[in-house]
Symmetry: C2
Subunit: 360 residues, 2 copies
């Protein structure tokens, strides 16, 4: 696709995101309180059901078709020693996702979710499994410490690629919720940079140890992020340029997938820290996307709290996850599905009192 086509796709997608349907939210709230339980006694599950009602424009929502999308790409900033794993692992894990033996395979499988893997920018050549969706925008990003992650055109194409791949998968499956995860060695560094920019916090407070670089490694990582922010002087009111200078190909695609899911009436399940950084970007591009999001869990990454606060979303789970891949989103799916089922499957007190002879 051309950069101009990409920009048109992004614009039209953002324009088609609607506010939640007020009448359905209200009807679902009334129905929720009339169900065979004290009002409010199923806590956050009730919120989930009502949110789905507002998305689906009905007081009997459904959430049985679930989709897990995983975007994979590489990061030039790994040259700075910000990751404990060699960059080749992105490709190894992307292949593993197609062999069915990784964490997301098992957890999406248990959640009953359909899984799609998209390579939007792995750097190396590798044998591409048949069921891998290959839509590389470029082979890995630039090293953000010394150059832009990608050009403005590439950023637009990466976001539009996320939109297209999500839209295709939603159309094909009929998914009512989409968990959005990733694989990309080194990607906690751009995620922390984006989080610092969009939340206005000091990089030192939102940068963690990733998957095991130790204290010295973490200090180096913070310095790399500070250097990158100083070099690019990002403007948080221009989210596409922030993504181009500091982001990642898979992070851009994830932001696009979130916009597409919101536009197409599927609930957006944010996964961990990287997915959260994509959510910050998507929300900066289209504020209405936020109310169609659920923050599936609180990641062990320190920056996750900052981005949750900025998104004004309360994490659903707190299980100490720090794997990514969409694993946290997969674990939240049964809760979302159950929230919908309350409205669609429970009886109301009024209905049941008719059926049940009053005990004497």
């Amino acid at each position: 696709m051309t950069p101009s086509e990409a920009r048109t796709i992004i614009e039209r997608t953002i324009e088609s995101i609607e506010p939640l349907d007020g009448a359905s939210l209200e009807a679902a709230g009334v129905r929720m309180d009339a169900l065979l339980k004290p009002p409010g006694s199923l806590g956050r599950l009730e919120e989930l059901g009502i949110k789905l009602a507002g998305i689906q424009k009905t007081d009997r929502p459904s959430a049985d078709v679930k989709l897990s999308l995983v975007y994979a790409a590489d990061h030039g900033v790994t040259a700075e020693g910000v990751s404990a794993s060699p960059p080749q692992v992105s490709a190894i894990m992307t292949r593993a996702f197609c062999s069915g033996k990784a964490g997301i395979n098992v957890l999406a499988g248990k959640a009953g979710a359909i899984l799609r893997i998209v390579d939007v920018g792995i750097a190396v050549d590798y044998d591409e499994p048949a069921d891998l969706i290959v839509r590389r925008v470029r082979r890995g990003t630039g090293n953000i410490r010394v150059e832009a992650a990608m050009s403005a055109d590439e950023a637009a194409i990466a976001v539009a690629t996320g939109i297209q791949t999500a839209r295709e998968a939603i159309a094909e499956t009929g998914a009512r919720m989409v968990g959005i995860g990733e694989m990309g060695i080194g990607n906690t560094t751009p995620a922390a940079a984006l989080t610092a920019v969009f939340t206005g916090r000091d990089p030192a407070t939102v940068t963690g140890g990733g998957t095991g670089i130790g204290e010295a490694g973490q200090k180096r990582k913070i310095q790399v992020i500070k250097d990158a922010i100083k070099l690019h002087a990002p403007d948080p009111s221009d989210p596409m340029s922030v993504m181009a200078s500091l982001g990642g190909l898979e992070i851009a695609a994830m932001a696009g997938a979130m916009l597409a899911s919101a536009a197409d009436g599927a609930l957006v399940l944010i996964d961990g820290f990287i997915s959260g950084a994509a959510a910050l970007t998507a929300a900066a591009m289209a504020p209405l996307v936020r109310e169609r999001m659920v923050l599936s869990h609180l990641s062990a990454e320190p920056g996750h709290r900052a981005l949750a606060a900025k998104l004004e979303l309360l994490p659903l789970l707190d299980l100490g996850f720090r794997l990514g891949e969409g694993t946290g989103a997969a674990m939240a799916m049964p809760l979302v599905e159950a929230g919908a089922a309350l409205l669609s499957e429970m009886g109301t007190l009024a209905e049941e009192l008719v059926h049940l002879k009053d005990p004497s």
Copy 2:
């Protein structure tokens, strides 16, 4: 059953609860760290998988067969105005559980759990649905403010009834985990009394508003519990006598069901506040039961934190639930199942590196 038979059943059940299998715990820990993910990156799911390994004596545990047990009974203390709902609601809801339209029906259904409902002490006559298990020990308890909830013999029979019904259901289904819930209008009062006794805390700090009695009602409820504890002078080192003087028929049966599940190698999923009070009692009777328990969620009832601390169990979920019925336990089941699946279905890094050609 006779009281003497009941006491024999309880004794033999407690004797047959073993410590977790150390070799399997260790093997599962080693395997968990070798899986295709950074060690520890799936947080509490890893703990769940390893606990199941210790229970099932294998490093490849399974948790696909799930059972929800709901025990129902009435409470004489409702005469003191401690509940917002009339006591007839226990029978109405017990029937609703058999009609499939209540919260636990929907949530156990979504979790793929088999549901069994046991009446161990509903006070009123009602049309008993065909699939209800009726094992009434007596028709409701005495008003604990002025008399014992039940006799020592009745308490033993109620616990043994919980053991027998759980044992039958586990044998019939092959369940690997058992969620243990309840229905009993007024039962947050005996649950708070038991929590105060077993944790040594002031009743005022562990007594909540139940399902909506307001501030004045809560004060009355605290006074009722204080009066009851003064009258019966319970000794926490004699849990069966605490249960007889202050407990409930369904709470006693739940404690029995927990002992039976532990003895029969099924993981015990504690539900909310009432289920937690039963867990405190079971743990006081048989300390080894504790390491076979998972605290599914943090109830909105204030006493739940106190009992979680006493049990040294960290809640898995925090969703603001305060319904009971086993609904919180049902929502934790997918997490436990996923924890087992990590060990049984994920590949190890070593295995995958053989299958995956190194990218060049």
